[in-house]
């Protein structure tokens, strides 16, 4: 069965510092990969996605993620965080060819920004 692991439950970063959130997946074949952000009281918003091609993908709000097949990882990065980035971040996967399938999510990483 497919699974997504986000090993860090909480991460604290100073404002202006760089950020990396980890995501590993377990799947028979490389799935489609997504990162979502959830702010308090808000719905999930898609930050970026990877299907194929360039393994470094750019998303909204200055985020990027790198797909590494050998490590089954899809880590999210941002060079300089802002206080408004404090939120819950979820990595998710969907099987290739399963265009309308539901997503399988990790447990999330709670990002805290220190002033």
């Amino acid at each position: 069965a497919q699974s997504v692991t986000q090993p860090d439950i909480h991460i604290t970063v100073s404002e202006g510092a760089s950020l990396e959130l980890r995501c590993n997946y377990s799947y028979g074949a490389t799935p489609y990969l997504f990162w979502y952000v959830q702010s308090p009281g808000q719905g999930l918003q898609l930050l970026l996605k990877y299907f194929s091609g360039d393994t470094l993908v750019q998303g909204i709000k200055g985020f990027e993620a790198e797909f590494k097949r050998s490590q089954s990882s899809f880590n999210l990065r941002k060079p300089s965080v802002h206080w408004s980035d404090a939120a819950e971040y979820f990595c998710a996967v969907r099987r290739r060819g399963g265009g309308a399938d539901g997503l399988t999510f990790g447990k999330g990483t709670h990002l805290i920004i220190q002033p």
């Binding site: 997504v4 999930l44 309308a100 399938d101 997503l103 999510f105 990790g106 447990k107 999330g108």
Partner: protein, 117 residues
């Protein structure tokens, strides 16, 4: 363009009572999803609709949960009777489905936070 609308946003009920959640997807989105998000967890798919047909309800606890999507637009998720363990956020999402190509981005509503006392 309006996003996915859910109501109510918050609901508090006593155990053994029934409860219903409503979702209005983005106009033109054929596929509708209900997810369950427990505290400190990621969302988990409960059911997926393609138009009015439930095509994946394998994770829906059918003894107490039911859902419908009449006319292939709005959807209602019901719990009867509610149990303490049902306290969670219920998220609705919609997408273009197969017409959306490989990307088929899912758009999420704000969710309904259920508290069962």
């Amino acid at each position: 363009e309006a996003g996915v609308v859910q109501s109510p946003r918050y609901k508090i009920i006593e155990k053994k009572q029934p409860v219903a959640f409503w979702c209005n997807p983005i106009s033109g989105h054929n596929t509708l999803y209900w997810y369950l998000q427990n505290l400190g967890q990621g969302p988990e798919l409960l059911i997926r609709y393609e138009n009015e047909e439930a095509v994946d309800d394998s994770q829906l606890p059918k003894d107490r949960f039911s859902a419908e999507r009449l006319k292939g637009v709005d959807s209602t998720l019901k719990i009867q009777p509610a149990e303490l363990g049902d306290s969670a956020v219920y998220l609705c999402a919609s997408s273009l489905g197969l017409a959306g190509g490989p990307y088929n981005e899912q758009f999420f509503g704000p969710g309904t936070r259920l508290t069962v006392l």
